[in-house]
């Protein structure tokens, strides 16, 4: 690895940015280990791009520090930072050819012999022979790779990517996700990737931070975030969740007891964020299974009864809505594995789950069930 520069994690300490009365980034603190692929995930307006721009030096923080190793770089001009950016929609210089675009950073630092480096960098992003073309003559995917090469050639300590794949079509995006991941492993530079696409963040990043209203809701490995979300926001933003409003009644053995809608449930203590007061009992739709009646529920599983109110066949699975006795709808994904038949709308069913797949989250008292089914977009109420 080419880490001649002193090793260092990127640390944000109490970073705050206010635009007038609007607080875009609110007292943000986090550490991004050197060499990791880190994703900042959030809806538009959550402050993720502002955070990125403060790391790049394109925005001055209102308060707090941006530390690279032990050095506070928050006050440095962008061109004084060992940080480079892949801009949203790339910002390639239209009047310079690809070679000069890639060579730009080296030339600004007074390096005269750039041809070899540029050639090697273009090879890394698989654009050999394109050096003499102008950006406008390349496809979106090719432009994206030029933007990447233009930043990487400077061997930054941190590479910032601002929605780098947003302008590409779905197929190309998937391809570039794999490509970016390959390049990151190859060069070993810290990547900080800003995106609103949860799937993109989960496939690529080692660590994902979910941002909301200028704060980090939860930070962790993708599987950890998905399997055991810390807040209702994360539970709904990353995939879908059935959140039943209930009240936790303390421990019983290794479990936390939850009373919800007249029934009693239990969840392993390791999967409960709180053990008293108003909570959400959460189960992911694919962790729910439908059977004909309570007698068919496997031992150790917990269940609620209901009526199928909607069934959408989507190929890989069938998505059911089950209306419970108290009127809420639960979302259930049944894999089309060939086991079990299709259920008709109106059928009486029992939904059951393994308590080890459920989770308990704190709930604002008064908040009702949040089962928000079939919702692909982030829920409303996110700061914009």
């Amino acid at each position: 690895m080419g880490h001649e520069t002193p090793a260092g994690d990127l640390r944000l300490a109490n970073l705050t940015k206010r635009f007038g009365v609007f607080t875009a980034v609110d007292d943000l603190s986090l550490t991004i280990p050197q060499g990791s692929f880190f994703a900042l995930l959030g809806a538009s307006g959550c402050g993720k791009t502002t955070t990125l721009r403060m790391i790049a030096g394109l925005e001055q923080p209102t308060g707090g520090q941006v530390l690279l190793g032990d050095r506070d770089i928050a006050g440095l001009r962008p061109y004084k930072r060992p940080v480079n950016t892949v801009f949203q929609s790339y910002a390639l210089f239209p009047h310079l050819d690809i070679h000069e675009n890639v060579a730009f950073g080296l030339r600004r630092r007074g390096i005269r012999q750039v041809t070899d480096q540029v050639e090697r960098m273009l090879a890394l992003v698989q654009l050999e022979g394109y050096g003499r073309r102008k950006p406008a003559q390349l496809s979106g995917g090719q432009q994206q790779r030029v933007a990447l090469a233009r930043a990487l050639i400077n061997q930054p300590q941190v590479l910032l990517l601002d929605e780098p794949l947003g302008a590409l079509d779905l197929k190309l995006r998937r391809q570039m996700q794999i490509e970016l991941k390959r390049i990151q492993t190859e060069v070993g530079i810290t990547f900080v990737h800003v995106t609103h696409d949860q799937e993109e963040a989960m496939t690529m990043a080692d660590t994902v931070a979910v941002m909301n209203a200028g704060r980090i809701e939860q930070l962790g490995a993708p599987a950890e975030l998905y399997e055991y979300p810390a807040t209702a926001f994360v539970a709904n933003f990353l995939g879908q969740s059935n959140l039943l409003a209930g009240d936790a009644g303390g421990h019983s053995g290794g479990d936390v007891l939850v009373a919800a809608h007249g029934s009693r449930f239990s969840v392993p203590a390791g999967r409960a964020r709180v053990d008293r007061g108003p909570v959400f009992l959460g189960v992911r739709p694919e962790k729910l299974h439908l059977v004909g009646g309570p007698d068919q529920v496997p031992a150790g599983h917990q269940h609620v009864g209901g009526v199928v109110s909607d069934a959408s066949y989507v190929g890989v699975s069938t998505q059911y809505l089950v209306r419970t006795a108290w009127g809420s709808e639960l979302s259930v994904f049944a894999a089309n594995s060939g086991v079990g038949g299709q259920l008709a709308v109106g059928a009486t069913v029992t939904a059951h789950w393994d308590p080890r797949h459920a989770f308990v989250l704190p709930r604002e008292s008064g908040a009702d069930d949040q089962t928000a089914p079939l919702l692909d977009e982030p829920p409303v109420g996110v700061a914009s």
Partner: protein, 280 residues
């Protein structure tokens, strides 16, 4: 039915071509008259074909002096107004400041004010201030009415420019000055050049404002104005035709260059396309 459809589809273009003919008729006449040996000084009719006017364009030397003077004034006014206007355009697009609407009004009003009013008011000022009128008062007046057009032209180019390009340059180790020199200036330059050409042509062709502020200095339009009473030498049409041809060649060359650059770039390497796909 078929015929009415055909007419309906094409009448607009037909009218357009007729109007273009109306617009270009005087130029054809000017070009024709440049080869005319007029029957008398005050005649405007075609009399006899000759090449003399083109062989001796400066037969009436005061006309050529006027052309040269117009060029001198045009060049100075262009340089000054392009610099002043470009600076203002940068301030307007790139910076926040107090009094923006006042500045916008100051830039817009000269374009909306009749030339006659600007010409006479400057005359009133120069007379009241006791400034003798001549070459430099013409330059001052021309800079004044060119600045607004420069601001508008450069501003359009500048505000169409993506700010992220400059951020990208700063991110790639270019200082403020290097960013301006390597990114901003090259990208705005076409707008500045267009503004300069516009300023020159406005200055070179101006009559009304010049007429009130020239004193005894004679520019080319003023020469033509005076000669219209005394009798127009046919060489005026030579100058008119030459101006037209030069301007047309400039436009043609620039569009040809643009097209060739595009084609050359497209024909450039198709190498790498294969390797890119085969390696991934």
């Amino acid at each position: 039915m078929r015929i009415s459809r055909w007419v309906a589809d094409r009448w607009v273009m037909g009218v357009a071509l007729l109007v273009l003919f109306y617009l270009s008729l005087p130029i054809l006449v000017v070009a024709g008259l440049s080869f005319n040996r007029p029957s008398s000084r005050l005649s405007y009719d075609f009399n006899e074909f000759t090449l003399d006017n083109w062989k001796q364009p400066c037969a009436t030397s005061d006309m050529c002096d006027a052309v040269v003077r117009s060029m001198e004034i045009g060049l100075i006014a262009t340089v000054v107004s392009t610099i002043l206007g470009t600076l203002m355009a940068f301030a307007l697009v790139r910076h926040g400041f107090r009094g923006r609407s006042g500045i916008n009004g100051l830039i817009f009003l000269p374009m909306a004010t009749p030339e006659l009013v600007m010409g006479t008011s400057l005359l009133a000022l120069f007379v009241a201030a006791g400034v003798p009128q001549g070459f430099w008062t013409i330059v001052i007046a021309h800079v004044m009415f060119c600045v607004s057009f420069v601001v508008v032209t450069v501003k359009a180019r500048l505000s169409g420019m993506d700010r992220r390009l400059e951020e990208a340059a700063m991110d790639l180790y270019a200082s403020e000055w290097q960013t301006f020199r390597r990114i901003t200036l090259p990208l705005v330059l076409p707008g500045i050049v267009a503004a300069a050409l516009l300023a020159f042509s406005l200055s070179f062709d101006d009559f009304i404002i010049t007429n009130f502020n020239a004193g005894t200095t004679v520019t080319f339009p003023m020469y033509v104005w005076g000669a219209a009473q005394r009798g127009i030498p046919p060489q005026v049409n030579v100058i008119g035709t030459a101006m037209f041809v030069i301007a047309l060649l400039l436009v043609g060359a620039s569009s040809l260059r643009g097209r060739r650059a595009r084609r050359a770039a497209l024909a450039a390497p198709a190498v790498g396309a294969g390797t890119a796909t085969s390696r991934s």
